[in-house]
């Protein structure tokens, strides 16, 4: 029936079109444009530019220690964030789910930081780290609080992690909460009747039932952690020096403050894109296999 199938596609297109047009206009075309410029030496200002093939990519990976260092720093950040953010979110979700009466209250409290924009929370924490904590240390006996929280490269990594977690855990927690509520009560009861301890119930019944949520949360945290910018920008600005510079910040610096090498910065963005693509592809394909249906 060619007519009906045509009609089917037409209605599909009609529903998708508004979103798709905007997506194409504001995301797809600029992305392709960026990939195009990554093979040029355009500086963002001149009208003319020339193609230099893979020169930008080779330079980024071979001759640019700052880029490689920022890449390594980002990987370290990603590792910490993916693990910690999911562990904290899951623990919080299980804890809140077990509180029948105060559920709404705690849910709101822990989700609240997520409603503040990241850059603002970074500035708030800058104040906490540089003013509040030293003051507390002065007034109380907690002298360990009086240190360079964001000025010392050894410590500032953990300060960044703290702020990112504070800001990001709430969202993951909501996803886990939703998943926990979807676990059939009958399965849990059956496990209890069979004599399972709460921990055993959690590991063998609840965990497999919420794997789809874990997949999503891992995907979101992995993606978000690779693209981190505001927190680091607001807290340390990548400093002192470049000791806390993440990859997005390196790209930003290349494009907008150094020599305005848009082409080179685009090449770095493409590298970042490929890295994220590979990581999320592996992650999704591994975790999809472990999901079960009730």
């Amino acid at each position: 029936m060619p007519v009906t199938s045509y009609k089917k596609y037409f209605s599909l297109l009609a529903f998708v079109a508004p979103a798709f047009i905007f997506y194409t206009l504001f995301l797809l075309i600029p992305t392709i444009g960026g990939m195009f410029y990554s093979f040029t030496d355009w500086n963002g200002l001149n009208r003319d530019y020339s193609f230099i093939g893979l020169g930008n990519f080779i330079e980024a990976l071979r001759e640019d220690p700052d880029f490689v260092n920022s890449l390594l720093f980002t990987l370290k950040y990603v590792l910490f964030m993916v693990v910690l953010q999911n562990v904290f979110a899951l623990v919080l979700a299980v804890f809140i789910e077990s509180k029948v009466r105060t559920k709404g209250f705690f849910r709101t409290i822990f989700f609240m930081p997520n409603m503040i924009s990241t850059i603002i929370s970074a500035f708030m924490w800058t104040f906490v780290f540089s003013q509040v904590l030293p003051q507390i240390a002065e007034k109380t006996a907690f002298t360990f609080l009086d240190q360079l929280w964001i000025g010392d490269p050894q410590v500032s990594f953990y300060s960044i992690i703290i702020v990112s977690l504070w800001n990001g855990v709430g969202y993951m927690m909501i996803i886990y909460l939703a998943a926990l509520q979807g676990v059939p009560q009958s399965l849990k009861e059956a496990a209890v009747i069979d004599g399972a301890t709460p921990f055993q119930t959690f590991r063998s019944v609840t965990m497999p039932m919420i794997t789809h949520a874990i997949t999503i949360c891992f995907f979101l945290t992995l993606n978000g952690a690779f693209k981190v910018f505001e927190v680091v920008y607001g807290l340390t600005g990548g400093g002192p020096g470049r000791s806390t510079q993440v990859i997005t910040m390196n790209i930003y610096e290349e494009a907008f403050s150094n020599n305005f090498r848009y082409g080179y910065a685009s090449a770095k963005s493409v590298i970042l894109f490929v890295i994220i693509l590979i990581f999320t592809f592996i992650q999704i394909s591994v975790m999809k296999r472990k999901e079960v249906e009730a």
Partner: protein
């Protein structure tokens, strides 16, 4: 009784208002008629739309007023109806917006750029009109002109904001202890010892933002260029020089400052530094007078001055740095170039300009500027008049960014002096490579 008078008054008012309206209407129609008549007769009253792009929203009122005066003058002198579209984005993203405009052939007729940082690349890309022959060019002060002149000797912009700076010092502390601003590094050490002996921290340190430690570089290079190493910048541009020549000029004084400064420098930004300096937490601050407003906001009574920073024991290398930042340029593709140029000349108009620059609190840039400026500007001008000044050396922006980051890392103990210098050489080389 009262009520009736009120009523009468009201109706009177209403009547006059109405009459006024009627009169206006009549007048307006009369005007348009005559304008139309003019058009048919001699086609003189041109109407022109001038687009301006000046990233200084905090001065909007001043600009609006000045532009209104210009519009009136242009109408009176040349019978041109000018309507001005003034765009004032915040400084943070202004250069981004401007670049997009220029690259997409939608250039504003007049736009503001940063003289030292942006003129070379914009000029090279062909976005700046040559203004050397304009009347205003002759009025510029000799100390200002070089910062808007290109390497091939053309004046391409009109400087609005100019800077003369070295470091800031707390005049009260200095006079209380009987100190004068030192002219050599040895004298500076003596000053530091004396301050420490009276339990005053000599320097405020604020290195959270990398552009602040960066300030030592233009001062050091400027001093060396004027004394020992005149063609340093040229050599660097030809890939022949090296920052190792500048090692002692940069680090002798930088080490001295760091060793005698306030603590937690990597967590103190510019505004916090200004507050600390205003509160007298340090006697000196490596910073320019562009923070004057912030300092006075937190302590209106603070008496501070500007002095040149000694970099070695040669007093002739202790110099005030002269440079320009916000400058107006004209687009060569402008369709109304004549009017745009009129406006540029009006900015340095013999009568109007004085009050304008004074209201904006800018430094004098032209011979016609005779207003009284701030004490810290006068301080610096004393040195300038003695010849103890140097034009801001043309260090590429990317090298300045690099030195800021490098000196931050040096302060935090992550890089050695040689690492910093090597990174600077590399940054300048890659600048040369990119801007061939």
């Amino acid at each position: 009784m009262k009520r009736t008078t009120k009523g009468v008054l009201c109706s009177l008012l209403a009547a006059t208002l109405l009459a006024g309206c009627g009169g206006n209407n009549g007048g307006n129609t009369g005007n348009t008629d005559s304008a139309a008549g003019n058009n048919t007769v001699s086609a003189e009253a041109k109407s022109v739309t001038l687009k301006m792009f000046i990233a200084q929203p905090r001065f909007k009122e001043h600009y609006d007023k000045y532009i209104a005066d210009f519009v009136a003058k242009e109408k009176a002198d040349k019978n041109i109806d000018v309507s001005v579209q003034l765009e004032m984005p915040t400084a943070d993203n202004a250069s981004q917006i401007l670049k997009t405009r220029l690259a997409s052939n939608d250039a504003p007729d007049i736009f503001a750029i940063h003289a030292v940082n942006e003129i070379p690349s914009y000029y090279k890309a062909g976005y700046l009109e040559d203004l050397s022959s304009q009347p205003f060019a002759g009025k510029l002060l000799d100390s200002v002109r070089p910062s808007v002149t290109t390497t091939d000797g053309k004046i391409v912009a009109l400087p609005l904001e100019t800077l003369s700076w070295g470091y800031l010092y707390n005049k009260k502390i200095f006079t209380d202890l009987g100190l004068t601003s030192p002219t050599t590094l040895t004298e500076m050490k003596a000053v530091v010892e004396k301050l420490k002996a009276s339990n005053i921290t000599p320097f405020v340190l604020s290195y959270k933002e990398s552009w602040i430690p960066q300030l030592v570089l233009p001062l050091a290079v400027g001093g060396m260029v004027k004394t020992k190493d005149a063609d340093f910048v040229d050599k660097m541009n030809k890939d022949e020089g090296s920052f190792t020549d500048m090692k002692s000029a940069i680090f002798d004084v930088f080490d001295l400052i760091n060793a005698n400064g306030t603590t937690k420098a990597t967590e103190v930004g510019g505004d916090d530094g200004a507050a600390a300096f205003a509160a007298g937490k340090g006697a000196m601050w490596l910073q320019g007078p562009w923070y004057a407003e912030t300092i006075l906001k937190s302590n209106p009574d603070l008496d501070f001055g500007v002095a040149p920073l000694p970099i070695n024991d040669d007093p002739s290398a202790t110099l005030i740095n002269l440079s320009a930042s916000t400058s107006l340029a004209v687009s060569p593709t402008s369709k109304n170039k004549e009017v745009a140029l009129d406006f540029m000349n009006y900015v340095l108009d013999d009568q109007a300009s004085n009050a304008f620059f004074q209201a904006l609190k800018f430094n004098p840039v032209a011979t016609i500027h005779t207003y009284e400026s701030y004490p810290w500007i006068d301080d610096a001008m004393v040195y300038v008049k003695e010849g103890k000044s140097v034009q801001d050396p043309a260090i590429p922006q990317s090298v300045k960014d690099e030195v800021g980051k490098g000196l931050q890392a040096y302060y935090a103990g992550q890089m050695s002096q040689d690492d910093v210098l090597k990174a600077l050489d590399k940054a300048w080389k890659s600048y040369n490579k990119v801007n061939k």
